[in-house]
Symmetry: C3
Subunit: 346 residues, 3 copies
């Protein structure tokens, strides 16, 4: 669906230097763009491609304007403007309303007439699927689950009884929402399971990555607030609450009963201990281990950057001897003092 450059400029909040009426239909990188495409420049490494681009227009920073050989959409934040242009030009694919003949819908479930339910999907008793929701093939929607309007469960998503998903959510294949939390009590060396009676509540505009798991709560629901973005292979423990607009990269684990604030950013592979609180606007770098509460916004880390292995092992060995060396040095210093004293006493 082609868009006039003038309209695009207004939509993305940029100033147009060029023909208002020129039509663009796709977004493409500087080197691959053709006439009719809009391109973008926010990463300086691609600067050299600008002068050769065949795009009809380029989204860029004022500092790059003079070097732009085609129409320019100028803005102080070209990355954000690019994101807006891309989401305008690449909307999610349309789908047909209706329930696939192979889907299995319980008699007491309610599926909005405008929703789509795919092949081999299961919608259990009392579940409710909102308007224009997309339930892809192989999804399992448990008893009394609610799926909000315009939410998309792309394929093979499992949502377990009682969980609720807000509006405009996007959930990728393999995600499991509402499995039991890991609650155990020890009885003479044998583990006794603690029933997980609460569920999961997911806000609006949440994205959940492939094979990510979000456990149901014990007494209180696990809560994912509005606008949270979760990447793939993330584990969210029971009773956790994640504040609005927090983004978490892949392979992160959040242990049970922890609260994470709003607008936090958590890097890939980080681990967050249970029963702690993390303030709003905290940034946790990849691979960090958060072992206690973080009450103040800021950037936190504990990553050890990889090094050549022999050097690394020497360093670790040195570290492991540090205690001994410190003690020896202290003792050595003391015996030095003694020697001097003794010398003086001679």
């Amino acid at each position: 669906m082609p868009v006039r450059l003038g309209d695009l400029a207004r939509y993305i909040g940029a100033t147009l230097h060029g023909d208002e009426g020129c039509l663009v239909a796709n977004i493409a990188t500087l080197d691959t763009a053709e006439a009719g495409d809009v391109s973008f420049l926010f990463d300086r490494r691609y600067r050299n491609f600008l002068k050769f681009t065949a795009a009809s227009a380029v989204i860029l920073h004022p500092a790059e304007l003079s070097a732009c050989p085609v129409a320019a959409l100028v803005t102080a934040d070209p990355y954000l403007a690019y994101a807006r242009a891309s989401s305008l030009l690449s909307p999610p694919p349309a789908f047909d309303a209706g329930i696939h003949t192979s889907a299995c819908i319980a008699p007491t479930a309610s599926v909005d007439a405008s929703a789509h339910v795919g092949a081999f999907a299961v919608v259990e008793e009392g579940a409710r699927i909102g308007s224009r929701a997309f339930i892809g093939p192989g999804c399992i929607i448990g008893r009394a689950v609610r799926i909000g309007d315009h939410s998309c469960l792309s394929a093979r998503v499992t949502v377990i009884s009682g969980a609720s998903i807000g509006q405009r959510c996007l959930i990728h294949p393999g995600a499991v929402i509402g499995a039991d939390g890991f609650g155990l009590a020890r009885d003479q060396g044998v583990w006794m399971k603690i029933p997980q009676n609460a569920s999961v509540r997911i806000g609006d505009d949440v994205e959940i990555g492939a094979n990510t798991t979000i456990d149901r709560g014990t007494f209180k629901d696990t809560v994912i607030e509005d606008g949270v973005k979760l990447d793939n292979l993330i584990q969210i423990g029971h009773n956790v609450r994640i504040g609005a607009h927090t983004a978490i990269a892949g392979c992160v684990g959040v242990s049970g009963s922890t609260r994470i604030g709003k607008r936090c950013m958590i890097g890939g592979g980080a681990g967050i201990a249970g029963h702690i609180e993390i303030a709003d606007d905290v940034v946790i770098k990849g691979a960090a281990s958060v072992t206690k509460s973080i009450p103040v916004a800021g950037v936190y880390s504990s990553v050890w950057p990889a090094r050549e292995d022999k050097e690394w092992r020497r360093k670790v060995a040195r570290f492991n001897r540090l205690d001994k060396e410190m003690i020896q040095r202290r003792n050595g210093a003391r015996s030095g003092v003694n020697a001097r004293n003794e010398g003086e006493s001679l």
Copy 2:
């Protein structure tokens, strides 16, 4: 199903201070409990809620008895007593026996008449499903797999040919049991696959979390002994053996051919190297990397707690200069000695 307090006290091993005949039907936290609920106090942070609780009875430690405004179930281990009460009052939901019309059962498979097989489940040739077993929607039970009595595969669990699951197991969605181990040999820079001919044997009373994977063995089965509890997103490599009543939290990886003892506890995000042995009763803290065998029970760790990023980077840089500093100091000390010697020789 309401229970008399007297019966509940006996069941959980507590001493009742209050009316034997009082009925309770649910378990709830101190602040949300209503008449007819039993509540509990084992975490001192919730102590202040005790005096305001509307519960009919509270499970607590003798030290808290004097402050309890309602009937009390007194025990030295209120957490365990709570777990017992909760499992009595919140049994797993009942289910109807029978095979869903959409399920696909091979002619040579055997499904006990009291078992349940859900929508779109697949039970392949020679598989055997025990009595009162629950095979949820979308599960795939491979050739010659055995599922023990009273085991529950909640939904979308894959069990690959030849694996066996014991009795009273609980397996959450997305778990994959019996996929090939990662066995490769290098042939002039190209990887050759090593067939994984053995399978997976899972004992009784085992719980396996969502999207957890347990690989089949090469020659000997991968074995998960009785009472083991595995959280979500755990990877268990081929030929591994995990001892009875060991509990492993989320996002842990156990590499191939490793043996873990009985009653171990492994924290979230830990990694265990291959071909090692871990003794019984070992505790491994979250995010630790276990690189060699642990022959003695105890608590082990290698976690670096996250710190403010600038400070952390300064510390890492300091660490990386340590070698150099140590050498310089040693050389400096030596040249100091030399200088002195030279001074003396003057």
Copy 3:
């Protein structure tokens, strides 16, 4: 299918010491092998089993030949020879061509007549399934996806629209190929999704483990080159390229837009930052965090081996005081000098 020892020796590249015509049909460990089995010895720990083995023949190193009580297949690389023998004697199970009656195949999809499509599999519009391909039960093959000849998607694999899989690939249950990459732009504290318009291209002879996820690219396809082997629960971000014959163990995360070279080996639980380049033939040890490009082949690490917890915590505390101590020592040394100077000036 029994094989003559003479033929086996030629196939695996070993020298036979024994009867050319002797038939073997299975491969087994030294202690479990029976007559008609071939066994192997490459791990010195199993050396003691050699003299008691009941195998018909043993694959071993020349150094072990004199101790071998049965026919010997002698080679300088017995591990590789074992892998070859095992793959000859344990071929993947045969399967019948054809589409299961319950599978859901779009009218415009094309499935080769020699391929197999299992129960409840979905093959969407325009998808193409190659000859002798195996699409197991519950797989979802998205729009316009291509599955190459002889590839096996064992069960419940999801391949999203536009992705292509080469020939002779093996993909394990729960893998998700082609879900959206984690592309977000921040707009006044709210995340805006960046459409992920490219797809995933997987070469020939690639193995992908259970519940592993490979994201689709933003503008360029995510590429997994020929012969790459990925274990379970791995996350591959968008726009990543992994070079031919690289092997990655379980629980590894590779962040977006990173390029990994050919023939690399990456240990379990490692994390690789985004937007970096790793050279060919790099080895990254388990649990390492790679935070910047590695331009030179070699072995890299940043693992901290777990230690007894009290000792570990003392070491971490010591480390955290290092800065302070260094400063104090420097100041102390200086004040010592001052004192001496002052002393001299007295």
